[in-house]
Symmetry: C2
DNA sequence: GGAGAGGCATAAGCCGATTCTATGAGCCCA
DNA sequence: TGGGCTCATAGAATCGGCTTATGCCTCTCC
């Protein structure tokens, strides 16, 4: 189901937000590097498409109408998300030769880092982040060798020479489609039931799968059944679960949206601790300074 | 600061997500109602703009590269936010003559409803929501008269004939710019200090302001100082606070982003309970059915 | 092994959306 | 009353994206 046309181009909304902030169409046009007639036309066209009066135009400037204020508040969320996407992409491009090299495990890179980068861009616009991703060992190695100033890792292991600070928590979560029998289990399932059930999972060797196997072995003396289906992306796994293929175990950060929307159900599991800490690491010798410290502060506050 | 061009148009990203889900460019093109060459060009142009290889094209289909998977995961957040924006706008348009009339107070409409509507659209696409906004009394009246099937109100009052269910909580929060003296107050401030400080606030009569005055009077026997500046939008207030004009008191839902980003600081306040419940209401006689029940389930789960 | 189907890229032409410059009208202030 | 601000409109030029047509590659199945 593709995105409706009304909202696929965010630039009119972005312009609307600038008008709201600056108080006039002309000022917003200058801020966006276009002429006033172009801005005027873009806004009129938006109003015509939506069939809503968003702006109250006067000869002293323009203000949002009640509907306009509501739309602007909603639009801000989308525009902020797009800015986070841009921050992520931009940092991905600067693979070297830049200011603040950051290494992150996949979970952090996917679900947490974009917002932090967007916030960092606001707090210190001249800082250029160069992002590399990898598993927690790769990240630790990058930080130790100095290839990265700051790293974000999952799990408890911590090589000598690194200092760490917990910035977020993440819980592996058993998910099923709403119709699945497990979704009606109030009491939760036992580790043995999970271990006996063929799951939809990532390929062998993925961080999430390794961590689940490890926890199951250590805490319940059990192991995972042969997966019913191995897929290479979290998104593909969620789709398969939603279609009722089988349950899966994914990061709580990955499924928060679907759980909220009700398209997936969480199944409690008893007697198995599946929480792991996401931690910021940096060399023990070198305290964080400048932009790295800013990023650390943002990540810490964001908890 | 306008949105970068890379991300102002989300349609290439939307298309990328479809390719990831469907496994081929042609299938994604069909899903979006465009031809295969158009989709191919749109994706190539995205890759060229970003300077990143996102897709691995084969004669059997296309898969995401590692970079592509990361970008797709980030993009999903932005696309979902845009879908929520669309859901909000669409519901705003159907001011009457439609399926599920919903009335909501401004706080709920601004910060919570869009995601619920987007989830509802997934769960039951044929449901058309008609949204009206107003203060809690308006909402209660609309539900009582049957103008709305479901309502969302703030605060504890509950007219006869309505049943309510708490779906979220919201706390009025004192915010200051990072440099403000209050931001260094670990112990929090006293109600008397707040009451003596001229604030940036909404105009008289706004729900948030009334609630704050009420709480201050009832719980601390104090009243609000004359505001330093009255502004008509939450956004304008946040900007003023960030620029250091004065502290303000806003909903925690309104400032979560800025607090996470560190552009605003929260100041604890002792001896004043400023939490309020956001509740779903419906006529006592008529239990929720159909789409209204779906929406209630989504709102309840989303907590 | 050859035919068919499905996958993708390229080329050429068309159409439309958006932009710019130029200009006019309304309001405020000195 | 003139200058400066606001916004809207008009006409011309430009740019980008779409469609159709085509070719190449690979897998599958007879």
């Amino acid at each position: 189901m593709p995105l409706p046309r009304q909202v696929s181009d965010l630039s009119p909304y972005d312009l609307l937000l600038s008008v709201a902030r600056l108080g006039s169409v002309g000022a917003a046009a200058r801020a966006h590097g276009i002429t006033q007639p172009a801005a005027s036309a873009r806004l009129s066209s938006l109003e015509r498409r939506l069939g809503l009066a968003l702006l109250q135009r006067t000869t002293q400037g323009s203000r949002l109408t009640a509907h306009g204020a509501l739309v602007a508040d909603w639009a801000r969320t989308a525009v902020d998300a797009a800015a986070a996407l841009d921050a992520g992409i931009t940092s991905l491009l600067r693979s070297s030769g830049s200011r603040l090299p950051v290494a992150a495990s996949l979970t952090v890179a996917e679900y947490l880092l974009p917002r932090w980068l967007a916030a960092l861009h606001v707090a210190s616009p001249q800082t250029a982040v160069a992002l590399t991703t990898g598993n927690s060992e790769d990240v630790a190695a990058a930080v130790l060798t100095g290839d990265a100033e700051v790293g974000f890792v999952e799990g408890p292991e911590l090589p000598e020479g690194l200092r760490a600070r917990t910035v977020a928590r993440d819980t592996l979560t058993v998910i099923v489609a709403p119709g699945h029998p497990w979704s009606r289990r109030r009491s939760g399932i036992e580790p043995r039931e999970l271990s006996a059930m063929p799951l939809v999972s990532r390929e062998q060797g993925s961080g999430t799968r390794r961590y689940l196997e490890h926890a199951l072995t250590r805490q319940a003396g059990a192991s995972l059944a042969q997966p019913l289906l191995e897929l290479s992306s979290t998104t593909a796994i969620k789709s398969a679960v939603i279609e009722g293929v089988a349950p899966a175990v994914l990061s709580s950060l990955a499924v928060a949206g679907e759980l909220a929307a009700g398209t997936l159900r969480r199944v409690p599991i008893s007697g198995l601790a599946l929480a792991r800490e996401l931690r910021l690491v940096h060399p023990a010798g070198r305290p964080l300074v400048g932009p790295a410290q800013d990023l650390a502060a943002i990540a810490t506050r964001a908890q």
